[in-house]
């Protein structure tokens, strides 16, 4: 014991034999590199459990993974253009069902509010003005009323009619203050919307489905995930 001190293996302050090295035995080298990535194992792993329930759970797991990818919750990265456009790609696209979150349960800032609203109004305005310009003659207005009546969409047609009337009147006032007109119109819209229902956000921000025509696809992206 005492011999260890001072000479030879003086680096150790304890009895080296206690750790399992006999006197004079060579100590193992210092490890200077990280252990191997796939070290050899002394014992082979036991085989996995197999059985009916295991098989069923395996199938469930794999099915679940595939289903998740087709759910609207799976948000894909905007794809970069592939080098070769494949013909088959067209047929492999899956169409996801839409998902409209229940906004009442989410913080207000989650709602795609402003953009959606503006875009919505714009498209609506565009529609309105188009129709107005095509129906400049007052005679045509009657026709239009009939048409709307045929559609049988009572409530809505009334609204539209009023809107048109209003916008027409403003139009008559002069073209130079059209911007103001637009603003006024917007206000009109907002008032109407708020009258409809105070706290039903879905109705407020996602108007009748008719409005999501071919021209307002981008709005859809904003609103539904």
């Amino acid at each position: 014991m005492a011999g260890n001190k001072g000479r030879g293996r003086a680096a150790y302050t304890f009895n080296i034999e206690a750790v399992g090295f006999s006197k004079g035995e060579k100590l193992p080298d210092v490890a200077l590199k990280p252990p191997p990535l796939f070290p050899d194992t002394d014992y082979k792993p036991v085989p996995l459990k197999t059985g009916e329930s295991e098989d069923y759970m395996l199938a469930l797991k794999q099915e679940l993974r595939e289903t998740m990818k087709r759910k609207p919750y799976f948000i894909e990265k905007p794809e970069e253009k592939p080098d070769i456009e494949r013909y088959s790609k067209k047929y492999m696209q899956t169409y996801k069902e839409e998902w409209i979150p229940d906004w009442r349960r989410l913080p207000r800032e989650m709602m795609p509010r402003k953009k959606c609203r503006k875009a919505d109004l714009k498209s609506k305005n565009a529609k309105g003005t188009d129709k107005v310009s095509s129906l400049i003659d007052t005679a045509d207005v009657l026709k239009k009323i009939e048409e709307l009546e045929k559609r049988g969409d009572g409530e809505k047609s009334d609204e539209e009619y009023e809107e048109k009337e209003g916008s027409k009147e403003k139009r008559k006032e002069g073209d130079d203050n059209e911007d103001d007109n637009d603003d006024a119109q917007q206000e009109d819209y907002e008032d109407e919307e708020e009258l409809e229902e105070e706290n039903d956000y879905i109705n407020l921000y996602f108007e009748d489905e008719d409005d999501f025509g071919a021209d307002s696809d981008d709005n859809m992206d904003e609103a539904t995930y």
């Binding site: 014991m1 302050t13 304890f14 009895n15 206690a18 750790v19 399992g20 194992t41 002394d42 014992y43 792993p45 036991v46 996995l48 459990k49 197999t50 329930s53 295991e54 069923y56 759970m57 395996l58 469930l60 797991k61 794999q62 679940l64 993974r65 289903t67 998740m68 759910k71 919750y73 799976f74 948000i75 894909e76 990265k77 088959s88 047929y91 492999m92 979150p101 229940d102 009442r104 349960r105 989410l106 913080p107 207000r108 800032e109 989650m110 795609p112 706290n199 904003e222 995930y225």
Partner: protein
């Protein structure tokens, strides 16, 4: 959160919700709760994308929000809840075993969609079931909602926190985020849909008369206008209840392995009696008298009261202490000690891991140290009856892998090695933590390997999918056998072989994930119950 857990969360989110959600989710897990604007800034993702991702995460109960002062809403991710996604197959399978296909689909829909209203679940499940049964038959809404009510009664599904609408909202501006409150009383209360259910059933039976299955029914325009009866009442799967069930099953099977089938039936009866009366995180069940147990044993299980008492005494005397005796009234009061049971199960897991990794002789040393609590090195060598040199080698190996820990007790204040006792001991809690951490790592590795395998063979997989699609479409048009064979031969023999290998490997990896999760469950329950007791 350890790195291994975060990595696993990241993989889970990516597999289930895509890369954008993964980015936001992982960012929230790393940083804790954050307001929207900071998330947008720090992740460098567009505002819209962040909003979408957060909506998805909130929908799936993975993120919660809170309003802080000055109306800032902060979002916080639940890391442990994300990891639960690994267990989804097991939840679904369990419900299938308990409540059949209908229950299976209800829980599956709830897990896939995060939260849903009861009417939506019932509708979806009825439609899905109708698709599977033969033509002409339909699945009644009433039948599905019955199963749903059973699930709610046994607490496998529960209500999500409700939106608490502030009163006289006209005068004040609406709050920045809805106030979600949990109403304990209503947690498992199924909304009165019976009337509506009948109405729906009538409608579907009307259509039965017309010979049109419900699934194929075109959406009535009136459907949109009629108010949803249970609007705003959302349901989710109650994962804690599932865990309670898993725990009980494990205890029952452990008792069956240790003693015999009859004693496991007795324990099962005790657990079933206290299922509803005991909360899922209580350390003990309510005390049950032997008379009560005798009455609630399954019918046709013919054992006399005397035999039952003998069994109970035997169970209470067992050193593992799964069952404890708490009093003598009513023919003896017995409880099931969950804490002890989970500790025994966790210890058994540790032992078996050591046995499989280091061999049986190491396991002997481990058990020895476990039993004797503290041992000096010399004692270990003697008691284990293993040559000193080998014993040392094994002991150090387990020490370096952190299964065994070392306690220094200096005789003098200078901590000189020659005047210090070195005691080897097993700290089960920390060893279990370490093993749990390793399990997380293993699952991460398994998923990464699976993704790698799939990516390597992407071209082949796509090809086989295409060929399958072509075959299906050709078959639909009624092609000849020769034609079909020709198409099938588009995949060459070596390719077919490669596909087979891939499938086998992926299956194996997937199965391993599920089975590692069983160990994860056990260790987590043990750690949780021990932490609560302290």
């Amino acid at each position: 959160m350890t790195q291994a857990e975060i990595k696993l969360c990241s993989l889970m989110l990516q597999e289930h919700f895509g890369e954008i959600v993964e980015k936001i989710g992982v960012h929230l897990i790393r940083t804790g709760s954050q307001p929207l604007r900071v998330i947008v800034h720090d992740t460098g993702t567009s505002l819209d994308q962040v909003k979408k991702a957060l909506c998805v995460l909130i929908q799936h109960n993975l993120v919660i929000y809170q309003v802080h002062k000055r109306g800032v809403v902060e979002y916080e991710a639940h890391c442990s809840r994300v990891l639960r996604m690994l267990r989804y197959p097991r939840y679904i399978y369990t419900t299938k075993a308990l409540y059949g296909d209908t229950g299976e689909l209800i829980v599956e829909e709830l897990l896939l969609n995060g939260k849903m209203t009861m009417s939506a679940v019932v509708k979806k499940v009825a439609d899905r079931l109708t698709e599977t049964v033969e033509d002409g038959k339909t699945m009644d809404y009433a039948e599905v909602s019955n199963t749903f009510m059973q699930l709610a009664d046994t607490r496998f599904v529960q209500r999500c926190p409700m939106v608490h609408a502030p009163e006289n909202s006209d005068t004040q501006p609406p709050p920045p985020a809805p106030n979600l409150v949990i109403n304990e009383k209503d947690m498992y209360l199924v909304p009165k849909l019976s009337l509506i259910g009948k109405g729906k059933r009538r409608r579907s039976s009307d259509e039965d008369a017309a010979g049109e299955p419900a699934a194929k029914r075109p959406k009535h325009p009136t459907d949109n206008k009629e108010p949803i009866p249970d609007d705003g009442i959302y349901w989710q799967a109650n994962l804690d209840r599932f865990h309670q069930h898993f725990r009980d099953q494990t205890i029952v099977s452990a008792v069956a392995n240790r003693m015999d089938q009859t004693s496991s039936e007795i324990v099962r009866a005790m657990l079933r009696m206290s299922e509803v009366t005991t909360s899922s995180d209580a350390p003990f069940t309510q005390p049950l008298s032997s008379n009560e147990i005798f009455r609630s044993l399954p019918v046709g299980y013919n054992i006399s009261k005397q035999v039952l008492d003998q069994y109970l005494t035997l169970l209470a005397d067992d050193p593992l202490e799964f069952v404890g005796k708490s009093g003598d009234s009513g023919g003896g009061m017995y409880v099931i000690n969950f804490c002890k049971a989970l500790a025994s199960l966790a210890t058994a897991t540790l032992e078996s891991v050591i046995q499989e990794r280091f061999g049986s002789r190491c396991a002997r040393i481990f058990r020895l140290v476990l039993q004797k609590k503290h041992l000096e090195q010399k004692q270990v060598e003697d008691f284990a009856m293993i040559p000193a040199k080998e014993a040392k080698d094994m002991l150090y190996k387990m020490l370096s892998e952190n299964f065994i820990s070392l306690q220094e007790i200096p005789k003098t204040p200078d901590h000189a090695p020659s005047r210090t006792f070195y005691l080897y001991t097993v700290n089960v809690l920390s060893a279990a933590r370490m093993l749990l951490h390793r399990c997380y790592k293993s699952v991460t590795n398994l998923i990464e390997r699976r993704q790698f395998e799939t990516k390597e063979n992407k071209r082949l997989l796509e090809k086989s999918q295409r060929v399958e699609a072509i075959i299906a479409s050709v078959q639909a048009t009624g092609a000849e056998e020769a034609q079909l064979q020709e198409i099938e031969e588009m995949i060459t023999a070596p390719e077919r072989q490669q596909l087979e290998t891939l499938k086998r490997n992926v299956n194996k990896l997937d199965a391993s994930e599920i089975q590692v999760d069983e160990t994860i469950f056990l260790l987590e329950s043990y750690i949780e119950s021990t932490m609560k007791r302290q």
